[in-house]
Every structure is written in structure tokens, then in C-alpha cells.
């Protein structure tokens, strides 16, 4: 989870003869947040629990929507500005469910996976991004 995300491979794995649609979300490191200039971003995780939560989220997405595949990858450690921190690819017969499932998975990821983002500000200082309390 500490290397750059290989988006090309993620897309290759999502191409299926029975599918007409692949919806993809890429989260990228942004140079600002709530009015402050961000010079770098870093992610920390409870790695085994995060990996299990991502696997569970892939399965739950496939169970909840009429989609054929869902692949999710999250990068950890420093993610330079413009690089991809998270990638979700959902393949389906039709585009409606692909889009819906992809968006749902991303919202859910932010709510349920033990990963934390820290920002380092251009003017100095740093802060953990305000997040969501995990619920059992």
C-alpha cells in the first residue's frame, strides 16, 4: 500500500466481456484545504484492519449493486500533490449501477476504513484532517 497506485492494472482487471461500463474514482492529493495551502499530504493506516475493511467494502459493493467487479486500492505514506491516493474501479453491464456503486464505495471508504490523512501547510504547521468516528 506504500507504492504509487498502478491505475492501468486496476483498469485492466476491470475489463470484462460481459460489462459495458467501468466507473472509476481517483482521489488525488490537492494543494489546498479549507483555505490553507497544503504542501504535502501523508496517510497512515491500521494496515491489517484497513486491508480487511477494503476487501469487505469490495464485497459489500458487489452485493449491494448489480455490478460485476469492484477493485479498491489506497496508498499510504506521503502522496505528492497531484498523485493518486485512492482508486476505485467498478465494472458493470450498465453505467447507472457502475456510477452509483463507485460513488457509494468511495463515501463508505471515508466512513469505515481506518486510514488517517495528515496535511502539512505551506505557511507551516500540520494537522490531521477532521474525520468520521468509526462505528461498530
Amino acid at each position: 500500500m506504500h507504492d504509487a497506485i498502478d491505475v492501468a492494472t486496476l483498469l485492466e482487471r476491470s475489463r470484462r466481456p460481459e460489462c459495458g461500463a467501468i466507473a472509476v474514482f481517483l482521489g488525488t492529493s490537492r494543494d489546498h484545504h479549507e483555505g490553507r495551502k497544503v504542501k504535502r499530504l501523508s496517510y497512515e493506516a491500521y494496515e491489517p484492519m484497513a486491508a480487511a475493511a477494503l476487501d469487505a467494502l469490495e464485497r459489500e459493493t458487489r452485493g449491494r449493486y448489480p455490478v460485476v467487479s469492484c477493485h479498491i486500492v489506497h496508498r499510504l505514506g506521503e502522496v505528492p500533490i497531484t498523485e493518486v491516493s485512492v482508486a476505485i474501479a467498478v465494472a458493470a453491464e450498465h453505467r447507472g449501477p457502475a456510477f452509483e456503486a463507485c460513488r457509494w464505495a468511495m463515501d463508505e471508504l471515508k466512513r469505515t476504513v481506518p486510514i488517517w490523512k495528515k496535511e502539512f501547510y505551506a505557511e507551516g504547521g500540520e494537522g490531521w484532517v477532521e474525520g468520521t468516528r468509526l462505528g461498530p
Binding site: Y43, M49, W116
Partner: protein, 87 residues
């Protein structure tokens, strides 16, 4: 190794919890029969800066989120999880 009257649990601290404690991991020895709340109280005695964070933390035992105040088994892994912000 803990003797038969005590148990040892490992606490894992992440993000703000890790920074406030100045460490990512510690072992705590507790009397047998101790509960999760006893372990949390013990780590807060060692690292008082954690107390303020407590209402915001979720807790996992052996990588599973828990809500109640369960009795602890020997050698469980307790993780203190601040609000998450992946993505």
C-alpha cells in the same frame, strides 16, 4: 509473559493518539478479569494527553470494532482509532 493472576494486552495508537502518546504501541499488564475500560484507563494514566481524545476514539479489539466494555482475554490487541479520514 504474565503470570496466572495477570494478563497482558497490546495497545496500538494511531494518528492523533499516536502523536499525543509519543508512541505507536505499548504493552499493559492488568489483573485477570480486567475490562476494556481498565486498559484504556491504564494507558491514559501513562499518557494523560490521550484523555481529551477519548470521546472521539473508536476502539478495536483484535481488529474488530467493539462497542461494549468487554472482559479482556490475555494477549489481545487493542487499537485506539481516531476519526478516520482516508480517501
Amino acid at each position: 509473559m504474565s503470570d496466572s493472576s495477570t494478563l497482558t494486552v497490546t495497545l496500538l495508537l494511531f494518528a492523533q493518539a499516536r502523536e499525543r502518546a509519543g508512541r505507536s504501541k505499548l504493552d499493559v499488564e492488568l489483573p485477570r478479569g480486567s475490562r476494556l475500560s481498565d486498559a484504556l484507563a491504564a494507558v491514559e494514566r501513562l499518557h494523560p494527553a490521550l484523555a481529551e481524545l477519548r470521546p472521539h476514539l473508536a476502539v478495536a479489539v483484535d481488529r474488530r470494532l467493539v462497542a461494549g466494555d468487554q472482559v479482556l482475554e490475555d494477549r489481545v490487541e487493542i487499537a485506539l482509532l481516531p476519526p478516520v479520514s482516508g480517501g
